[in-house]
Amino acid sequence: MFDLTGKAALVTGASGGIGEAIARALHRQGATVAISGTRAERLETLAAELGERVHICVANLADREAVDGLVPAAEAAMGQLDILVNNAGITRDNIFMRMKDEEWDQVLEVNLSAAFRLSRAAVKGMMRRRFGRIISITSVVGVTGNPGQANYAAAKAGMIGMTKSVAREVASRNITVNAIAPGFIETAMTDVLNDKQRESILQSVPAGRLGTSSEIAAATVYLASEEAGYVTGQTLHVNGGMAMI
């Protein structure tokens, strides 16, 4: 089950915790992976560890030229692109009344517009080959909202709407488009929480713990697989039960 041998995947944000776990998991299932991120050193370390079937594509998704070059670069390196994982994301938290235009724009640009542009570029080759998997990593806050994250929540909710629309457009071509909505996962993004914040979060999580990156990666492997071919336009919530939607 879930064999990805012969498939080529591009993972954005692979120099971060969840992206790295996703790249590892897809690779473990047999896929060739192009790992993209801003931190070249971390990508090189990951590539060295994975060995064969890995390509590094350094790109800053705040830079539109870099975004537009990414899918062609991945296709050139791997010969094709079957699986796109839009994982890269940033936060610029602030209470709404103090939120700067730049904070709003940066988050929308990297978290939503880059995913749009990458998906648009990837879907062309997928249509031609009659196979594709687009998986966008959104967030529970895109559905529930979160104080201090109006920009982030808007971008993540936007991803869900885009996912559903594109899924409807390309379903007849054997391309599925889905989202994964992590809850609180142990990453650099949640490491900044203090003990009190952590405790109050855990009270809202029936599972009583934070999730792990590998649990997000496992959901990604499932949605990327041939076996998930009848699942499209969905948001898979991986959140320990903190929101049941």
Partner: protein, 78 residues
């Protein structure tokens, strides 16, 4: 009939699964040949591949009939 027209019609027949005699010069992909909007995008991609040209989006939007495609490619391909 030009060589380009022959090749265009072959692509249309193959892609849309219609009879050759229906693929007239003034046949509209959507209204006469049963294409949906995604089919028209794929036809343009197929033309690009067959003739080794790039068809920009604004030009692609003007290619509505078999004849439109033939005329565009006669002007821009080769």
């Amino acid at each position: 009939m030009s060589d380009i027209a022959d090749r265009v019609k072959k692509i249309v027949v193959e892609h849309l699964g219609v009879d050759t005699d229906k693929v007239a010069d003034d046949a509209s992909f959507i209204d006469d040949l049963g294409a949906d909007s995604l089919d028209t995008v794929e036809l343009v991609m197929a033309f690009e591949e067959e003739f080794g040209v790039e068809i920009p989006d604004d030009a692609a939007e003007t290619i509505l009939t078999v004849g439109d495609a033939v005329r565009f490619l006669e002007k821009n391909a080769g």
